[in-house]
Symmetry: C2
DNA sequence: GACATCCATAACCACAGGTTATCGATACTG
DNA sequence: CAGTATCGATAACCTGTGGTTATGGATGTC
């Protein structure tokens, strides 16, 4: 009998959440679809995995057994994928690097150029990461390294090489009243709605709404976005304002968006990030060295 | 990224076979369907797994990596299934036992009755196994124990409790010329086609074509069957003759099939079989004890 | 030169698996 | 106690995945 690992992930989510509706949300599925998935898994296994009640879904004995065993299956699959990816990188001479928004700004190209000098037969493939789960690609092995903004979720599980620091500014719709002013402080913005990253990103989200500079005052969230495009649109729409690295004014200049200086918020730091242990040798080591040589 | 373990099994088969067409046959699929599966797996992983040529499919580097890692994934899934099955058996009080053809003949019912005395609240569920892969259910955990004929594939990976020994006879179409004779020897049968088990069963197949009693003479295979029904039909059809346990004359008596004594072939042995370590305690231990008490 | 072998492609079909809308049952809540 | 929110199941519907047969093109083989 076979399974789609997807069913296992769904199952794990339901087991954890104890509630179909909420699990469905987390999985970006409708609740009936998830109902079907769980029923399918149960019929494939020939065992009842959950006790349904008005209070939600509770694991049965067999359900507990699966909940205990499923992570090992998923982990072994992740391992397999990483192995394939590593072999593929070796064979096709491609180093995959994820980046967030403007990556390392003006340093991005020089770093890649420096790497190509060390490894002329290799290519670097950049792929954009959403800020919903910026390290996703690193976990799964889809990507060898990433240009990240600090802090990011589960940062201590990775090696981090800081590259540059830049001040942050504030982005808002061009017709926003505050856009009249040349420069602002956090005090001016305490009542404004902010465009934020998904709640799951924890410290990352907090950093970009400057939670520490609000003196405990709660934030109004005007919209939640995952990618630069949604983010820009939301700002231009007037859904809220947002903190941004100063370089955004160069890389994301638009007539309907104004960027203004702001005082009293910590700067933003860009780093190169890779899984612990992976950077010891091979092309990734050269990429890291190239980046280190160009770091501030 | 997710996979269906099915794709992994297909992949493993192609890798092993080195040939799409033959792998498709083994998987009971059309060749284009298998082509699609492999392409899908490749696109999901973003890596080329095979080098296609006129000589077949050869693994690439990433392909080798996956071939090395896939068995672990499949094994962990099998483990998970066994865990679920065990918990389910515990919860629903069902012991599942597979059997081959006539199981343990007249001992089957007494063994089950003796088990029920020890575990009155448990049920025994018997399910027929094909001889294509008689231990399949044990590997996957679908079944807790099985009544088997010795020898069977990978026999040393299981615990084996011999239950009874019976002579073998020869089965043939009722209108077969040799059916006139009361008793036969292997020498009479050397030119006859035999009905055999699938080639993958190795020693099991050899045992039932009495490969060791032919003095090295090759066998003609009249048909390959997996189940008693096909087997009986093939014999009645005149596709060939077949060795059978003597009890077949009782359990599979048909007007169009004749069973005759044969000398010079080893007897057949029936045993109870279960995964190593599983019989130490719990209901399976009681079932084993019940069987042991009734063994010859 | 005819043929066999092997993988890819095309055209087609069924159904798995998703969606929205709705239901029935239960537990909070004012 | 009525009204409402919550939870999972069900129905009706639609699309895309994944199967099938038939066929093609390339390359060895007798």
């Amino acid at each position: 009998m076979d399974v789609d690992t997807r069913l296992l992930r769904s199952f794990a989510t339901v087991a954890e959440e104890g509630n179909l509706t909420r699990a469905a949300e987390r999985l970006y599925l409708s609740q009936p679809a998830l109902t079907k998935q769980i029923r399918q898994l149960e019929s494939q296994l020939g065992a009842v995995l959950f006790e349904r009640s008005k209070h939600g879904m509770a694991l049965t004995g067999p359900g507990e057994a699966l909940a205990a065993a499923a992570p090992a299956v998923l982990a072994s699959w992740d391992t397999a994928r990483r192995a394939v990816r590593a072999a593929d990188a070796e064979a096709s001479r491609v180093l995959r690097v994820s980046f967030l928004a403007s990556a390392a700004n003006e340093k991005t190209q020089p770093i890649i150029a420096a790497f190509r000098e060390r490894r002329p037969d290799w290519r670097v493939e950049l792929r954009q990461a959403g800020w919903g789960d910026p390290v996703a690609g690193l976990v799964s092995g889809d990507v060898d390294a990433g240009f990240m903004r600090l802090p990011f979720p589960r940062q201590d599980e990775y090696e981090v090489l800081p590259l540059l620091t830049e001040p942050r500014c504030i982005a808002m719709a061009a017709n926003h009243p505050l856009a009249q002013r040349e420069s602002l402080t956090m005090a001016d913005l305490l009542d404004e709605p902010f465009i934020a990253a998904p709640a799951a990103t924890g410290a990352f989200r907090d950093h970009w709404i400057a939670a520490d500079a609000r003196g405990g005052r709660p934030v109004r969230i005007g919209a939640v976005t995952e990618h630069p495009d949604d983010w820009l649109t939301a700002i231009a729409n007037g859904d809220g304002i947002a903190l941004a690295p100063a370089s955004a004014a160069r890389y994301y200049a638009r007539p309907d968006i104004a960027y203004r200086d702001i005082s009293g918020v910590a700067p933003s730091e860009v780093a190169l990030v890779w899984p612990k242990g992976a950077g010891a040798s091979g092309p990734l080591a050269d990429f890291i060295a190239a980046a280190a040589a160009l770091a501030d």
